[in-house]
Symmetry: C2
Subunit: 194 residues, 2 copies
Amino acid sequence: MNFLEERILKDGVVKSCNVLKVDSFLNHQVDIALMEEIGREFKRRFEDTPVTKVMTIEASGIGIAVFVAKELGVPLVFAKKSKSINIDGDVFVAEVESFTHRNKNQVVVSKSFLHAGEHVLIIDDFMANGCAMQGLISIVESAGATVEGCGIVIEKGFQIGGRVIRNMGYRVESLAIIDAMDADTGSITFRKQA
Amino acid sequence: MNFLEERILKDGVVKSCNVLKVDSFLNHQVDIALMEEIGREFKRRFEDTPVTKVMTIEASGIGIAVFVAKELGVPLVFAKKSKSINIDGDVFVAEVESFTHRNKNQVVVSKSFLHAGEHVLIIDDFMANGCAMQGLISIVESAGATVEGCGIVIEKGFQIGGRVIRNMGYRVESLAIIDAMDADTGSITFRKQA
């Protein structure tokens, strides 16, 4: 078991067969030392790739992605949900459905901050159905940039996202892959990874 | 002029008399080294206070607040806009109007992560009319915790927020206070601070 799986078992709460609360350390209250360790781990996994930019999507990906960007020594760009009056019309757009919030958002990245020839590592806290990741990938591809990989903190292995993104040919590194959860017992089954 | 004012003059773009774009380094693309410097500066300004927790509001505050929390060695809690199905009913709530997005949001913090007796430093990227800050302050006060101060990266000094919050008796430290902007010339007038 790695440091993240240990932390999930210690502080995660299984709310139902498909809802895991990790808001005491990951996506509401944030344990900074854990974020730094996650940053170092993604650096270790992706330092063989020529990453020039880390990308994530607001909001809960940001606190993780900044530490990955720090470790790799590159800027972060976070995609924004819904159009702000402060974003120019010149943006890449994708439509993303949120599993957690059960709604659709337009996700935008300014063309000023993503260019052809860039090498992008996409980071997010969760992957379930993979819609957010597909949206971010389509934005990177639209820019003529290269997706070097997708770094996920917690992948819900019992949902389709991981399989879809890997089948598209992208490298996905998930620090923890959950194959099953049981709300009655609180048990969590992690997929064994090499 | 401090490091932030210099950076605003170098890379900020005045879009109108009250809209400043800093999305190349602060709230869309993020310059990690600058975030670290901001973290160190807020530590310097607030290290005389017994801060036990840093609080911000999603989304663009997060990438700044994590580095303040890191410097101070305390956890971060970020308030969430709109109710997620993953947040329990047991939350502190405030209603906040967004100047940028021209809408109202319910802002929530779980009662699990904010307790009586805590000492909270509130961090945000911008302060304009101060609505977000007032919402966060009311959440901290509801919890019976103490607001040790408000750390703002860019305060729009020509809007009412800074005066309102200071008049309420809270300590506000803004790394840059803009008293005027001119879209025709692109000029920015910073308030002189001690």
